[in-house]
């Protein structure tokens, strides 16, 4: 018997029996093991049908048992337990069973192998563990040496090989690959495919990377290398397991939270990870460190979790908790809504509370927010599909909703509790930590990774396709959230604060003598005591501007503001520079305006900076008129919200997609399409069309209008009207006095072209 200590790196089905497990040892080497492992699933239903199933399965390579297991809603029930040692046979076998016995109920069917393994042995991806093996590298025992909830786990130093083409292959044919490993950098030309493969193979041998991080590896790189391998006869296998070939997952388009998404074809490796940073949903927010953290807490492999939505991670956590608690995970069964009266429907069918902001600029504004509000409510108030709507005597009543909540810990709170506690603790530490602290970058990545999981945990309760979701539990969480925010608002107002804005889990408040974080602590203490939820000051902003509606400046808009931090940086929501469809030229202009405004901490003096802003804008407009703006800065990127043939009227992005389809490019719902606005009949030119583009055709008038709107967005809270700004920007007008000083009827630009000037009378 030998013993190895290391980190669980990869796990998959062995072609014959059991599983294959890769461990990154403390010797920094990758070790390959096998282990017998049985897959268990369950069936329930009328006794005579179970008996028929039993007889049918007697001829199959399974072991059968009668058992009792817990159903989340129905309690203990009799089930037929079906155990399979040859895991590769499972899919076919279950398909056959389901077709022959569609009337039976099945459980623990659609589960990733690693979750089953994690539930049995309490290990998890990149978890530190000890393995005892027999002579033939077969695992006899595996023991976890850590938990996913450690704040500072010891992790292996992974060897990361980065491979990137010089251009996006859907835009133009790449000419070389950049290969990066530690301090080594290479450029491999694509003109000599044989040499390319030879070099790549030698890198794999020499560096033996654990992770291959690519750009466009999923849709292009590996397919290209496979074609080259076929053409040259030089073998190429990026897997560490030489007996395996690449595993591919098909591309998909789907809707999520009202938005269209596209995930390209995926390439997964065995014994090694491949991550394509261009084909991941939220990877860009937290990088490899965050993906590893998500894998550790959810139980999903890194290659999966890096690409999938956080919702898949939450579902995995719920399933893992269910497996560990021996709760049956239903297959193709879901609970319906608990009926409600119409009055109860009106009271419950609502989302988060949003207070319209007061328009204008305010000084010393603090944002106080509940930490992970909805997950904290789920944990603190024990909200789970099976705890809501019970009739227990000691259940917590919610009379407005006509519902009670059980005091016995539910599945979802049990699954979320350790993650919520970890996130709260990391946030607390980050607030006190200096940015130079060597833990800062790591903790920041962990915090962002966990934030995404926390954000979707609530949505998952009400998600139609969620196994453990039920709309009633989702509504209870929003109901409690609204109550808590209203209570916090009352307490703040009782303590003399003005509530400027409120958005679901945050309050924007100010008080003349409250200028630093300590001044808000008594308020936070009282809110925490009343609501039982953690709340903290996110920041006190020197000033904060709330942007009004473009159509009507007297109407404010929720969640559209910019606030100046004490370090000179901004918190920005809803502005053009944060929107994905804003060209860089416009975003940079808005950014520059904010940089100028950041010079002034006193909001009443902001208008004195208008002349500097105007000078900057004139320069920008001049570069546009003279057509010296780099063409990439004029790109508009938009997501295709439906399949192309579903468009009744072609919007600009649809026209760009149509142009790409005409040259036989793959165009799917959810894909981001880049294009320019042009003075042509089509009105746009798609970026990925290979024919060269004439910059003289750029529609400068359109870009000026986009610039104008973005500029007005940030200057409007200072009192600058559209008419005045238009004259300043495009009619060579100067200004008499900053806006807000004169009566609106007297505000008129000096040297304005009076033939074209229109004065509003309101």
């Amino acid at each position: 018997m030998r013993e190895y200590i290391g980190w669980l790196f990869d796990l998959y089905v062995h072609p014959k029996q059991g599983i294959v497990l890769w461990l990154i040892g403390e010797d920094q080497k990758a070790h390959f093991f096998t282990q017998p492992f049985q897959l268990t699933f369950y069936a329930s239903g009328p006794f005579h049908r179970l008996r028929q199933l039993w007889k049918f399965l007697m001829a199959k390579p399974v072991r059968l048992n009668r058992a009792q297991r817990k159903d989340l809603h129905e309690g203990m029930k009799d089930v037929l337990e079906i155990n399979l040692l040859s895991l590769s046979l499972f899919e076919e076998l279950f398909k056959e069973i389901n077709q022959r016995f569609p009337d039976l109920l099945y459980y623990d069917v659609e589960l990733p192998l690693i979750l089953r393994y994690a539930a049995k042995y309490s290990v998890f991806p990149l978890g530190h563990c000890k393995i005892e093996v027999k002579e033939d590298q077969e695992i006899s025992e595996i023991t976890p040496l850590g938990t996913p909830w450690q704040l500072d786990p010891i992790l292996p130093n992974l060897r990361v090989l980065q491979i990137r083409p010089d251009v996006n292959p859907s835009h133009a044919a790449p000419r070389y690959l950049s290969v990066h490993y530690n301090c080594f950098e290479y450029q491999l030309s694509l003109t000599d495919p044989g040499k390319l493969l030879f070099s790549l193979n030698s890198f794999f041998r020499q560096f033996d990377p654990d992770v291959i991080l690519t750009s466009y590896g999923d849709p292009w790189l590996f397919s290209y290398l496979e074609e080259v391998s076929k053409a040259t006869g030089i073998p190429f296998n990026p897997n560490r397991d030489p007996a395996r070939s690449i595993r591919r997952k098909k591309e998909i388009s789907f809707h999520n939270y009202g938005q269209a998404h596209y995930r390209g074809e995926q390439v997964h490796l065995f014994g090694r990870w491949h991550i394509d940073d261009q084909n991941c949903m939220t990877f860009g927010d937290y990088g490899l460190m965050g993906a590893i953290e998500q894998a550790r807490v959810t139980g999903l492999p890194v290659q999966e979790i890096a690409r999938r939505s956080p919702g898949a991670g939450i579902a995995a956590m719920q399933n893992l908790t269910a497996l560990r608690c021996s709760i049956l995970i239903p297959y193709q069964q879901q609970k319906g809504e608990i009926p409600k009266t119409y009055n109860q429907l009106v009271a419950s069918d609502r989302g988060g509370l949003v207070f319209e902001p007061l328009p204008g600029v305010f000084s010393n504004v603090a944002i106080i927010d509940f930490v992970s509000m909805y997950p904290s409510i789920i944990v603190e108030y024990n909200i789970s599909p099976e705890t809501v709507g019970v009739e227990e005597e000691d259940a917590f009543p919610l009379p407005e909703m006509g519902i009670k909540v059980s005091s016995r810990e539910g599945l979802i709170p049990a699954a979320l509790r350790p993650m919520v506690e970890k996130r709260v603790e990391i946030r607390r530490l980050l607030k006190t930590m200096h940015k130079d602290d060597e833990r800062y970058v790591r903790y920041h990545a962990y915090s962002n990774a966990l934030k995404w999981l926390c954000v979707v945990a609530y949505g998952r309760l009400g998600f139609a396709n969620s196994t453990f979701g039920r709309i009633n539990s989702h509504e209870v969480v929003s109901f409690i959230g609204r109550k808590m925010l209203l209570r916090a608002k009352e307490i703040a107002e009782d303590q003399g604060f003005t509530v400027l804005h409120a958005y679901v889990d945050s309050l924007f408040i100010c008080k003349p003598d409250a200028v630093k974080e300590d001044d808000f602590q008594p308020l936070l203490a009282e809110i925490k005591q009343e609501t039982k939820l953690a709340i903290e000051v996110e920041e006190v902003y020197s000033w904060m501007a709330f942007v009004s509606s473009r159509r009507n400046p007297r109407l404010s808009v929720a969640n559209r503001f910019f606030g100046l931090r004490s370090d000179g940086d901004y918190k920005i929501r809803g502005l053009a520079l944060r929107r994905e469809d804003t060209p860089l030229f416009v975003a940079n202009a808005q950014r520059q305006i904010l940089q100028i405004l950041a010079r002034e901490k006193d909001p009443s003096q902001l208008t004195s900076l208008l002349s500097d802003i105007l000078r900057m804008l004139q320069q920008r407009i001049s570069t546009l008129n003279n057509r010296i703006v780099p063409i990439e800065e004029l790109l508009v990127a938009q997501t295709l919200s439906r399949e192309l043939n579903e468009y009744k009227v072609l919007s600009p992005v649809a026209r760009a997609a149509d142009q790409l389809r005409a040259i036989e490019k793959n165009v799917r719902m959810g894909q981001r399409i880049k294009y320019f606005h042009t003075r042509t009949k089509r009105g746009i030119h798609a970026w990925d069309v290979p024919e060269p583009f004439n910059p003289l055709l750029v529609d400068t008038a359109k870009y000026k209008e986009l610039l104008f709107r973005a500029v007005h967005e940030v200057l409007q809270p200072l009192g600058v009207t559209e008419n005045i700004l238009r004259n300043w920007m495009f009619s060579d007008a100067s200004y008499l006095l900053p806006p807000g000083v004169l009566h609106p009827r007297l505000e008129m630009p000096l040297f304005a072209n009076l033939n074209r000037l229109r004065v509003d009378i309101s």
């Binding site: 009055n343 069918d349 609502r350 509504e475 409120a502 109407l555 404010s556």
Partner: protein, 101 residues
């Protein structure tokens, strides 16, 4: 906003749209006043949404009255300030013996 009932913003817009025949029959100056009422409604969506009453239309007049009261109070305050300023100026202009009487 939930998944079944419309958002308060939508309800507000629907109610405003239902008043269209009434609105069209008003003079322009009266229509502009009604526009201000509609703005008040849109500024207090959260309060309308939070009202337990089944009919938002029953809550909306309170919102309009609230904003009108605020506007009136502001006018009264400005008037009082102006009156006070004028009185002070008059006092300064009058001869001292008249001021004392």
């Amino acid at each position: 906003m939930g998944r079944t009932l419309p958002s308060t913003t939508q309800i507000a817009f629907d109610q405003i749209a239902e008043l269209k025949p009434f609105y069209e029959a008003l003079r322009r100056t009266d229509q502009l006043i009604l526009d201000r009422f509609f703005e008040s409604i849109l500024q207090h969506r959260v309060a309308i949404s939070n009202a337990a009453d089944l009919l938002p239309m029953e809550v909306m007049p309170f919102v309009i009255l609230l904003e009108e009261h605020k506007r009136n109070s502001q006018v009264y305050n400005e008037l009082y300030i102006l009156i006070e300023a004028i009185e002070n100026k008059i006092k300064l202009l009058l001869p001292p013996e008249e001021n004392q009487t």
